[in-house]
C-alpha cells in the first residue's frame, strides 16, 4: 500500500530531519564528524537537487521543448553552452571564452541597468527628497532628520573617497575638511553596520528558535506515542 509506505517514509523522514538537525547543532560542541557527515550529506543533496531542477526547468523547459518546435530559437545559446564545456579541460579552456564573454557581458549590462535605475538614481533622488516636507514630516525628528539623512549619506559616501591628496595639490585646506567629513561618515557607517548586524542576529535567532522548536516537536511526538 503506497499510502502507508509514504506515511512510514514520512515518519522516518521526520526523524531523519530531526536527527540531522541535532547532528548539525552538535557543531556547537565543536567541529565533529557527526556534524560533517550531516553537512556533506546536505551539500550533496542540495547540489544534486538543484542540478536536477536546472535540468528540469532549463534544459527541458527552456531548451528541449523549444528545440522540438523551432530549433533556431535556442541553437545559439546551446552552442555557446557547449563551447563552455571546454572549460572543463584546461587545454581547450580558451574555447569557452566567448561564452564567458557573452555571460559576463549580459550580466554586466543587466547589473549596470539595475544599479543605475534601481540604486544610484533612485537613491540620489530619495536622499534629496529627505528634505522635502512630504518626507521629513514622516520622520521621527522631522526636518532635523531630513538634514541628518542628507549629511549622513554624503559623509558616508565620502568615507570611500579614494584619491589621496597629492602633496603638490592645493588640497591643503580641503584635506582636514575631508578628514572631518569622513569621521562623521564613519559614525553613520558604524551605526548602519550595527543595525545590520543586529538585524542579522535577530534573523538568525528567529531561525534558531524555529529550528529548536521543530526538533522539540519531533521529540515530543515521539514521547507522546
Amino acid at each position: 500500500m503506497p499510502g502507508e509506505l509514504t506515511d512510514t517514509i514520512g515518519y522516518v523522514g521526520l526523524l531523519l530531519g530531526a536527527g540531522l538537525s541535532v547532528a548539525i547543532f552538535s557543531y556547537l560542541l565543536g567541529d565533529n564528524p557527526l556534524y560533517r557527515v550531516a553537512l556533506y550529506l546536505f551539500i550533496g543533496a542540495l547540489v544534486g537537487y538543484s542540478f536536477g531542477i536546472v535540468i528540469r526547468d532549463v534544459f527541458y523547459q527552456m531548451v528541449f521543448v523549444p528545440l522540438l518546435q523551432n530549433p533556431l530559437v535556442v541553437v545559439i545559446p546551446v552552442v555557446l553552452g557547449l563551447l563552455l564545456m571546454f572549460k572543463g579541460f584546461p587545454k581547450y579552456a580558451y574555447i569557452g571564452n566567448f561564452s564567458m564573454a557573452f555571460l559576463v557581458g549580459v550580466g554586466a549590462a543587466v547589473a549596470l541597468a539595475g544599479v543605475l535605475l534601481g540604486t544610484l538614481v533612485s537613491q540620489v533622488n530619495a536622499t534629496g527628497q529627505a528634505l522635502a516636507p512630504a518626507v521629513w514630516t514622516s520622520l521621527p525628528l522631522g526636518f532635523l532628520d531630513g538634514v541628518l539623512i542628507v549629511v549622513g549619506t554624503l559623509s558616508t559616501l565620502m568615507v570611500f573617497h579614494f584619491a589621496a591628496p597629492q602633496p603638490q595639490q592645493v588640497g591643503g585646506f580641503w584635506r582636514p575638511v575631508v578628514r572631518v567629513i569622513q569621521g562623521i561618515g564613519r559614525i553613520f557607517l558604524t551605526v548602519a553596520l550595527g543595525v545590520a548586524f543586529g538585524g542579522a542576529l535577530t534573523a538568525a535567532i528567529s531561525i534558531f528558535i524555529g529550528r529548536t522548536q521543530a526538533v522539540i516537536d519531533v521529540v515530543q511526538a515521539l514521547l507522546s506515542r
Partner: protein, 196 residues
C-alpha cells in the same frame, strides 16, 4: 545592447534583450554542469587519494547523485508516476535539505553571537563600542520589553535616519563601484573572460 534596451525601451529592443537574457540563462545552466564536473573532480580525487575526510566526500557525491533524480523524474516527458519519486523528493527536500539548511542558518546565530562577544577583542575602539551599543538597542528595540517601548522608537529612528543614511552611503558607493567596473568591462578595460 541589453543595457540600451533598458534606457530606451523601444524599437523591439526589449524583445531582443529578453531573448539575449534568455540565452544567457541557458548558457548559465551549462556552467552548472561544469560545477557538477568540478565537484566530481575534487571529491573524486579525495576519494581516490583517501585524503583526510574522503568519507565525507563519498557521502557528498552519493547524496548528490541520488538527489538529482526526483526533479528529473518530475519532467513530464518521462511521465514517471508521481508515487514512485514523490516520497523520495519529500525525503530529500523536506527531511534533508530543509532541516539541515535551517539548522545551519540557526548556527549563524551562534557564530554571530560569538563574533559580537569578542568584538572588543578584535577591535578596541570607540567605533566598536558604538557598534555594540547600536546592536544592543536594535535587538532590544525589535522586541521591546513591556515598558521599554521607547527603545522601539529609538531603534526605528536608528534604522530610518542614521542607519539609513549610512546604508545609503554604502549602497551608493557600491553602486558606483559596480557602475565603474561594469563600464570597464564594456570598454574592454576589464576582461575576466579573455586569455589576455
Amino acid at each position: 545592447m541589453v543595457l540600451a534596451s533598458y534606457l530606451m525601451p523601444a524599437w523591439g529592443l526589449v524583445d531582443l534583450r529578453n531573448r539575449l537574457i534568455e540565452w544567457a540563462v541557458i548558457v548559465a545552466a551549462f556552467t552548472f554542469m561544469l560545477g557538477i564536473f568540478n565537484i566530481l573532480q575534487v571529491h573524486g580525487r579525495r576519494l581516490s587519494r583517501r585524503r583526510s575526510g574522503w568519507f565525507y566526500s563519498l557521502v557528498l557525491v552519493v547524496a548528490m547523485a541520488l538527489a538529482m533524480l526526483p526533479p528529473i523524474f518530475s519532467i513530464p516527458l518521462l511521465n514517471v508516476p508521481e508515487s514512485t519519486w514523490m516520497w523520495a523528493d519529500r525525503l530529500i527536500f523536506d527531511d534533508i535539505i530543509t532541516p539541515v539548511g535551517a539548522t545551519l542558518a540557526a548556527l549563524v546565530a551562534f557564530v554571530l553571537l560569538a563574533a559580537a562577544f569578542r568584538l572588543l577583542r578584535t577591535r578596541h575602539s570607540a567605533e566598536a563600542l558604538l557598534f555594540l551599543v547600536v546592536v544592543i538597542v536594535t535587538l532590544l528595540g525589535t522586541t521591546p520589553l513591556v515598558g521599554g517601548e521607547w527603545l522601539a522608537d529609538v531603534r526605528y529612528w536608528l534604522i530610518t535616519v542614521p542607519g539609513m543614511a549610512g546604508m545609503r552611503g554604502l549602497l551608493l558607493g557600491v553602486g558606483l563601484g559596480i557602475m565603474i567596473t561594469a563600464l570597464r568591462v564594456f570598454i574592454g578595460d576589464e576582461h575576466p573572460y579573455t586569455d589576455l
